[in-house]
């Protein structure tokens, strides 16, 4: 318990230093674009694959469980859209990204720590936390919502494909379903959650990477801790944000 509190204090202190003014804006901008590419654009294939299959499975599950004749057929599209936008895209994809991006960030920074590259930055007079972590956080916070919008679209396409190919519903009824009772603020809610998740994933992973001590084995341990902690943080944050926004 004491260790957990110490880590939270250390994490807060790290964030305090991370959000300092960068030494050179030109270098910072270049690093930001690099991170958007590295963290965001490189994640597009996995997000696309996950989203299409996730949407397909949600639509199939909904269709196969709709046994009541009182339920209209367009409910399949409605449920697929609602569950995708509200939970599956922002939360599930963020959990996947916690694994992919989190382990990547923690191992990259952890390796730099154990090979004294971070010490080299500090000795040169560079604020290593701002230089390394701030572009990653901002890159993720800016680009994860784009990925989630992309995921929402692909999930709906996945749902449509699975229904049409399995002949469980027609295109018309599915489209009616996904357009029914649409609440635009749900998109805002989903993207707001995504911003929080993006921040948690990258900052927690950077924390574990930055405070790695030892060698290659410890870098691996840090990456594992980063993914596990970021995933737990996402689940807790999701619960709290749902309480705040929807209830």
């Amino acid at each position: 318990m004491l260790k957990a509190l110490q880590n939270i204090g250390k994490y807060m202190h790290m964030l305090w230093i991370v959000f300092s003014r960068p030494e050179k804006w030109g270098v910072f901008r270049a690093r930001l674009f690099h991170e958007i590419h590295f963290i965001g654009i490189n994640s597009i294939p996995i997000v696309a694959l996950m989203s299409v299959f996730m949407g397909g499975v949600i639509a199939l599950q909904t269709a196969s469980n709709m046994t009541s004749p009182w339920l209209p057929e367009y409910t399949i599209g409605y449920i697929t859209r609602s569950s995708t936008i509200l939970e599956f895209s922002p939360t599930m994809i963020s959990l996947i990204l916690a694994g992919k991006v989190g382990s990547n960030v923690a191992s990259e920074i952890g390796t730099m720590k154990t090979t004294e590259q971070i010490d080299a930055l500090e000795v040169m007079g560079v604020n290593s936390l701002t230089f390394l972590v701030l572009p990653k956080i901002l890159g993720a916070v800016f680009f994860f919502p784009v990925l989630i919008i992309f995921s929402m679209g692909l999930s709906l396409i996945g749902g449509w494909l699975s229904l049409v190919l399995s002949e469980l519903a027609s295109t018309e009824t599915y489209v009616v379903g996904i357009r029914s009772f649409f609440v635009p603020s749900n998109i805002v809610y989903a993207l707001s959650k995504t911003v929080v998740f993006a921040f948690l994933i990258v900052s927690i992973s950077s924390f574990y990477g930055y405070y790695t001590k030892g060698g290659a084995l410890d870098v691996g341990k840090s990456a594992t801790k980063a993914v596990v902690t970021a995933s737990i943080a996402i689940l807790i944050a999701n619960f709290l944000l749902t309480q705040m926004f929807l209830l």
Binding site: E23, K24, V27, T115, E116, Q117, D119, A120, E122, V123, M124, G125, V126, N127
Partner: protein, 256 residues
């Protein structure tokens, strides 16, 4: 000149450094030697601010008290420091050119051409001209050390720290690195601090020598006096092998 006053450093209950007082002179190669685990690297990290000394300890760079400076003020002093790390610490995602150019990009307003000229000058200085496009992983250990030296001198530092510059190198390459450190020190008139337990380096390039034992400044002198001192700890360190013990016996015989 770097002045260290009453430097103590503890990690938890374990005290690593005890009351270190010393001066590292400008334009000279100042060697810090001692067995492994005696506190040499901790001392260096305290001096460059990677570790905080315990209360009361002071480090002065050119008369300015580094210990009392804010993080921002320290960053300015650090821009005058070049450091060669034990494992070279080159940024492995950058090419040789980008590594050397990095401090110039971060802290100067040089044009691209000026930076490139400076990079080429530094590479030339360490005999690695034309290797701009290589990545650190494509370079040998000796080359990596020389690239790290080139990066360390890119900003025309006033202070150069070398943490075990010869570790993992063959004797011939080690001499090349030693000579390079000495030449750069004299050529640019900088304060150089070399942490090592390589006696060849000490004899080859050490102007001032500080022997650390048990976290204390045990002995200070130069490369001549270290070979003739009666201090038992130094004798055990310098003449550790049977071969060296034989050399010492024959030297004593000659003296008689």
């Amino acid at each position: 000149m770097i002045e260290v006053k009453n430097l103590n450093k503890s990690f938890g209950d374990k005290q690593i450094l005890h009351e270190i007082n010393t001066v590292f002179e400008k334009g000279k190669v100042n060697m810090v030697i001692g067995q492994s685990g005696q506190g040499k690297s901790v001392l260096t990290k305290c001096i460059v601010g990677l570790h905080e000394p315990d209360k009361g300890g002071e480090i002065h760079y050119g008369g300015e008290n580094f210990t009392e400076m804010s993080r921002k003020e320290r960053m300015l002093i650090r821009q005058e420091i070049g450091m060669l790390f034990q494992g070279s610490a080159l940024f492995d995602s950058m090419t040789v050119e980008e590594n050397i150019m990095f401090p110039l990009t971060m802290f100067t307003k040089m044009s691209k051409k000026e930076k490139l000229d400076r990079v080429n000058f530094c590479l030339d200085r360490v005999n690695l001209e034309g290797r701009n496009g290589l990545y650190p992983a494509e370079c040998s250990g000796g080359m990596q050390k020389r690239i790290a030296i080139a990066r360390a001198i890119a900003m025309n530092p006033k202070y150069l720290f070398c943490d075990e510059p010869n570790s993992g190198l063959d004797p011939k390459t080690a001499i090349v690195i030693d000579n390079l450190i000495r030449e750069i020190t004299y050529e640019f008139d900088i304060t150089t601090v070399v942490i090592t337990h390589d006696m060849n380096s000490v004899i080859e390039i050490g102007d001032n020598i500080m022997f650390i034992h048990d976290g204390r400044n045990w002995w200070s002198g130069d490369r001549k006096t270290i070979l003739t001192t009666d201090n038992q700890e130094i004798i055990d360190f310098v003449y550790a092998s049977d071969f060296m013990k034989e050399i010492r016996s024959s030297m004593q015989e000659k003296r008689k």
